[in-house]
């Protein structure tokens, strides 16, 4: 026995290479993973998000108001649109369609001209402080945007300032990042554990040879899948409970909405992950492949969902992809219920996509679950 035999090593290298080549699925995923990461990190993610959806409330659009709105747009941070009423603005910010509402008081132009320095109220959705932080900071640079519009008598006067922005941070007034991260974490932890566990469920049976015996007995595919899913729903809920307890007791996470509603909705979210896991399990040839499929999914699900990087900061294509993923919607729901006190009506727009996703995945799983060994 020599120390290192080139011939032995070559034989082993050849064997490893052959095995890698025999598993083209794994090879494809290994190539696709860095490509996806580069695309996401290179193009999709932006921690200094621009073009944030902003609603503007104007009683009667006036000259100064239009100038200020144009200036907001020019910062690059605000994508403005007119909102009809305060109630509409309220609903939009609660459901996450708007991150800012800019509210001009009635008679704004006259108040400016009289030197009353009226306030422009900027309501922000503070659930994700990093999403709105830069945009809010940019407001301070807009103090002199009216300089050219003002009557000649007032131009060049430092005082009084023509108007003031009053920023009102909703939901998370202290702008604590932890309040944003914890609800997101609930979803991410649930996704990771439930997806991982179930992807292995059916491939394991197939690899150990127990599937053949199971198939030879009178069981229905739905029975096998339901049985595999059920225990993990319980495990998922246990995780939610632990995270919530720590978050509320130690991190002082406020709970503004209904915990019961939250648990109900999380059940749907857990089901969506389990369905996806089972689907991977039926598609993958072995446990290794199933695991890689799960990893391949978890990365975009986490990064494009608005968990660490603001959703509104992503380009349109990334947001479209994000909208298709249950994690994105679950995260909005959990943040909405915990921080905004949202009820069923407010979360419905994010609930049905999760349900739809689950149904589609289950359909694929049932379609590909083989009742025979063919």
């Amino acid at each position: 026995m020599g120390m290192l035999s080139a011939r032995r090593l070559r034989a082993l290298l050849r064997k490893e290479w052959l095995q890698v080549r025999r598993d083209p699925m794994t090879l494809r995923l290994i190539i696709a993973l860095p490509v996806m990461q580069l695309l996401i990190f290179g193009y999709a993610i932006n921690s200094n998000p621009h073009d944030l959806p902003t609603g503007v409330l104007m009683a009667e659009p006036s000259r100064y108001e239009r100038t200020i709105v144009a200036a907001l747009r020019n910062t690059g941070y605000y994508r403005t649109r007119l909102v009809g009423s305060e109630a509409e603005a309220e609903a939009d910010i609660a459901e996450g369609r708007l991150l800012f509402v800019v509210d001009f008081p009635p008679g704004f132009d006259r108040a400016v001209d009289r030197g009353e320095a009226p306030s422009v109220l900027v309501d922000t959705d503070g659930t994700d402080p990093t999403a709105v932080g830069y945009a809010t900071a940019a407001l301070s640079g807009l103090g002199d945007v009216l300089a050219r519009d003002l009557p000649p008598a007032r131009r060049g006067m430092a005082l009084p300032v023509p108007f003031r922005f009053v920023v009102h941070t909703r939901y998370n007034p202290e702008q604590l990042t932890v309040l944003n991260v914890v609800p997101g974490l609930i979803c991410v932890v649930l996704m990771m554990s439930t997806l991982m566990l179930t992807t292995l469920a059916i491939t394991r049976e197939r690899e150990r040879g127990t599937m053949e015996n199971l198939l030879a007995m009178p069981v229905r595919p739905v029975e096998v899948m339901l049985a595999k899913i059920a225990p993990y729903i319980g495990i998922g809920y246990l995780q939610v409970l632990v995270i919530l307890l720590i978050a509320v007791l130690l991190l002082h996470l406020p709970v503004h909405g209904s915990i019961l509603l939250l648990f109900g909705v999380l059940g749907v979210f857990i089901a969506s992950n389990l369905a996806l896991g089972i689907t991977y399990s039926t598609l993958a040839a072995n446990q290794m492949q199933a695991q890689q499929m799960a990893q391949f999914t978890m990365l975009p699900f986490m990064l494009l969902s608005g968990f660490v990087f603001p959703f509104q900061g992503m380009p349109r294509w990334a947001r479209v992809i994000g909208e298709g993923m249950p994690t994105t919607h679950a995260m909005r729901i959990v943040r909405g219920v915990l921080l905004k006190g949202n009820g069923l009506a407010e979360i419905l727009p994010d609930l049905w996509p999760i349900v739809l996703f689950t149904l589609c995945t289950v359909a694929v799983a049932v379609r590909f679950y083989r009742e025979t060994l063919d």
Partner: protein, 307 residues
Amino acid sequence: MNGPKPEDYVIDVHDLRKDFGTLRVVDGLSLRVARGEICGFLGANGSGKTTTIRMLCGLLVPDAGRGTCLGLDIIRDAPRIRRQVGYMTQRFSLYEDLTVRENLELVAGIYELSDPRGAVDAMLDRMELRGRASQLAGQLSGGWKQRLALTACVLHRPALLLLDEPTAGVDARARRAFWDLIHDMAGGGLTVLVSTHYMDEAERCARVVYLAGGRIVVQGSAGELLARVGLVTFEGTGDGVEDAVRRLREAPGVEAATVFGRALHVAGMDRARLEEAIHAQGGGLAWQEVPPRLEDVFIHLLGQEDG
């Protein structure tokens, strides 16, 4: 006419065919097995035994052919066939991380037995597994694992047992005990189709079906096969068996020369040429004619396949 009527056949399939890619694994196989019969499935590895068994219990869908199993169509009624068939896979396919009892209770539940605990208890006693009921299946020895697997597939009192090399890798005593159980159950009206590589097991079957290339080559009772093939066998004993077998294998007229311990079996179809070969190459051994063994017959058949 005293022969079995069509409804007496538990397995009645015609022209079954199955391809895996470009490989034809089962090629026009027709088989009838009567109620209560123990039918042995023999043939080299890859001859189509496992594939045929899997088609019979609905695990594989035949590409062509038709037939019934327990009077039910093997393609349309696969789910109903599964309820009445006990299938023992070649590889141990129960849960190694469950105990013997837990595995059996799972099976009892899947078959919706009315008294699962009672059924499991009764079967544990009958199969003498009681002492190991709380042992993890993964920790059982090969013989006990196979006994557990058999127990699992008879728990629901099937009308037909499909056993795919049930005794592979099991010691002789455990194999004998296993076959005693099979005969015991067949006595109660159970039909058994069992694939095996062991000749002593083939001899315990009422009928042997020999497969090659996905087709049935010969079938009949062990005695019939011996008579039909018409093999002549001589046994030589004495010193120099190893040298003699090398010489005789090459000799014309010798189809098979096999050493059994200190004895040498030489078999061939043509008595005159066989005697000539022994005369020329079998010096130093004491020769006598013996009844051919089933094993000689199959070695002869396998040799024909290769030819």
